[in-house]
Amino acid sequence: MDFSHLVVIAVSSIFINNFVLGRFLGICPFIGVSKKIDSALGMGMAVIFVMTLASVVTYLIQTFVLVRFELQYLQTIAFILVIASLVQFIEMFMKKNMPALYQSLGVFLPLITTNCAVLGVAILNIDATWADGSHYNFIESTWNGFTAGIGFTIALLLMAGIRERLELADIPESMKGTPITFISASLIAMAFLGFSGMSIM
């Protein structure tokens, strides 16, 4: 087990290729749920949780079902079904066994099925290769899912913090709401562009 790989994955998916600001995955919740810091944090936690579990499950499906029986062309269908049922299952489990957690994260769970970041991380885990041509192993995939979720949460929190201030700012009428949110996102993305100069591979 090579620990430097884990560091590379973490820095890469949190900063260099941040899911929202660098790869454009999960823009809908990024714009939709970033009005308040509280709800942004809740959404972020739910996404970290689902992304990690989705990475685990899709890796197992890919290795032991799709590759084993040479069904790789069914990848899209299999992954989206697995993710949708996983989210449904987590929701039912939480409602029954962790009512307190369900109160805070529950409302965000149904939204996650159509969050392209979850399916995106599952496919990226399978497609990504190291310099020597080897693919991510089980631990690296899971770690990638977890850190990508953290990157998503950081972007969401930054945006929510800015939008709480924007509420009080004097903005031209036609830029209010979504347009100014995109402009702010552009400025954050520009700052994150600074990380892309880092070469750690």
């Binding site: 454009f24 062309y73 899209t76 399916l119 036609s174 709401g177 979504t178 996102a185 552009s186």
Partner: protein, 207 residues
């Protein structure tokens, strides 16, 4: 609503990206050149037409409580079809769109049309609606990618306009091709739409 209105409403009045703000991920991620934007728009339209037709045909047999998973499977099937077709016939486009072809599955426009329109209306109406919405999506993608490609490279659809006119020196800013340019273009276009709406509301309110 007659058939023509049904067809054209998706172009501007209910444009999925610019008015309803659906399908934002692909409309930012793949719009680095008009070629990519057009390819993505057409691929999504094909999926939309296929899935809307099938959902509309099967609407009597789909139980209400599990309709969403069924819609997703139908959509995923068409996405797989398009994905394999592109890989076989247009490999260069398939490569540049990459991850975003399988991600058509989670494009909310497609699920949204299946849920809001195709599962209630007749097959013919659903096909018309799907083609109209698909064209609207393509229009939005081409608009965004035209702005980004021109500001980013000084070219339109691969043709270097300024050099063809004999003006040298305008190279464009690479920033517009990179992620910040996508957010910026989207913000400005949405701002323009809002400005237009506010202006119209003022005009009618004044009379």
């Amino acid at each position: 609503m007659n058939k023509l209105q049904n067809f054209t409403k998706g172009f501007f009045k209910e444009n999925p990206v610019l008015v309803l703000a659906l399908g934002l991920c692909p409309s930012l991620a793949v719009t680095t050149s008009i070629e990519n934007g057009l390819g993505m728009g057409m691929a999504s339209t094909a999926v939309l037409v296929g899935s809307s037709t099938l959902v509309s045909m099967l609407k009597k047999y789909i139980p209400g409580s599990i309709r969403i998973p069924i819609f997703i499977v139908i959509i995923a099937t068409f996405v797989t079809l398009i994905d394999l077709t592109l890989q076989a016939f247009i490999p260069s486009l398939s490569e540049s769109l990459g991850l975003f072809i399988p991600l058509i599955v989670v494009n909310c426009i497609i699920l949204g049309r299946a849920e809001a329109f195709a599962s209630k209306k007749s097959v013919l109406d659903s096909i018309i609606d799907a083609i109209g919405m698909g064209i609207g999506f393509t229009i939005a993608l081409v608009l965004i990618s035209a702005v980004r490609e021109f500001a980013g490279t000084g070219a339109l659809y691969g043709y270097p306009l300024f050099q063809l006119m004999g003006i040298e020196g305008f190279k464009g800013s690479i920033l517009m091709i990179l992620p910040p340019g996508g957010f910026l273009t989207m913000g400005l276009i949405l701002g323009f739409m809002q400005w237009n709406k506010v202006r119209k509301a003022k005009n009618t309110g004044g009379k």
